[in-house]
Symmetry: C2
Subunit: 180 residues, 2 copies
């Protein structure tokens, strides 16, 4: 596979690092663009009403759980790549990831916050972090779910994963804060 001369790669992208960044950037932008488009439409439809939290989460998650958009790559390839890059921060991708992540969180947290107005900002960020972690981890391990769950969940069940994750994320955000 990858039937392409490596010299061509260097000719077009300079070096391997730039190629990796470029791929990551393309996929991130593609996914985030779809997210923002959908969120925009939802805002338009909702008008002054808050958008249903389930819909917000779905918009946030679905582009990652769905197969690649333009290319006919295999299911979940992009999400695996993104999930990895967030965990192992190579020096050159760090900035890109931070920028794109902030682009998303700034838009979505505004939408989500209407449902959880009694949550302190830091508490909200912690929960957002947990939700994002759960999402990426799920996408990264979805291909071996059968083994990990001893048959209780199926491999590559993107549909089921998305359904369970959405419910989980909604619950996470709607749980009232505890004073302890």
């Amino acid at each position: 596979m990858a039937k392409v001369n490596l010299a061509a790669v260097n000719y077009h992208f300079g070096n391997k690092e730039s190629l990796y960044c470029e791929i990551l950037r393309r996929r991130l932008r593609s996914i985030n663009q779809r997210r923002l488009e959908k969120l925009g439409s939802a805002i338009e439809v909702a008008g002054d009403n808050p958008i249903p939290l389930t819909l917000i989460i779905d918009i946030l998650a679905r582009p990652l759980f769905e197969p690649g958009n333009n290319t006919k790559e295999k299911n979940g390839r992009s999400s695996r790549l993104i999930g990895r890059s967030t965990v192992e921060p190579l020096p050159f991708t760090q900035e890109l990831l931070a920028t794109e992540l902030h682009l998303i969180t700034s838009h979505f947290s505004r939408a989500i916050r209407k449902h959880v107005i009694n949550l302190q900002p830091a508490e909200f960020m912690w929960r957002l972090n947990f939700v994002i972690g759960a999402m990426h981890h799920t996408l990264a391990t979805l291909h071996q779910m059968t083994t990990l769950t001893r048959g209780l969940c199926q491999n590559d069940d993107y549909e089921g994963a998305l359904r369970h994750f959405t419910q989980f994320a909604v619950d996470t955000f709607t749980t009232p804060p505890r004073r302890s």
Copy 2:
């Protein structure tokens, strides 16, 4: 750093792959051993009563959030390594990770399940997966929390992270199932 002749490594471990596996195995076993010891004590103390869910989660998480036990390595090194290996499954670590993970889940799910008896097995596994994902992701990104949260959370705040995570995990497991 790592002031050790590379030949010595090969002499003792054969090759780099074995060395990596050995380190991962040691750390995993060390952490899981402490977990099981603590859980055993808690079971003993509790007698027939169920162990408080908060305690179960604390036992599950704290060994990962605490600094390395025997060695005087820097905070969170082990957890970073483990978090990584779960996400990028190298062929030779996969079996090790699955075994150790199952060892933990089998013990802890039994303890947790007493609090969430109305949860279907698959649903429970999904939530467990989300919780574990959130935990690993948090540990992996804790060193850049300030950037990621725009100052709302602090870098390397293992104490705060553990506190928030514990509450989050308890809430995740105690949320009643929805029929949708």
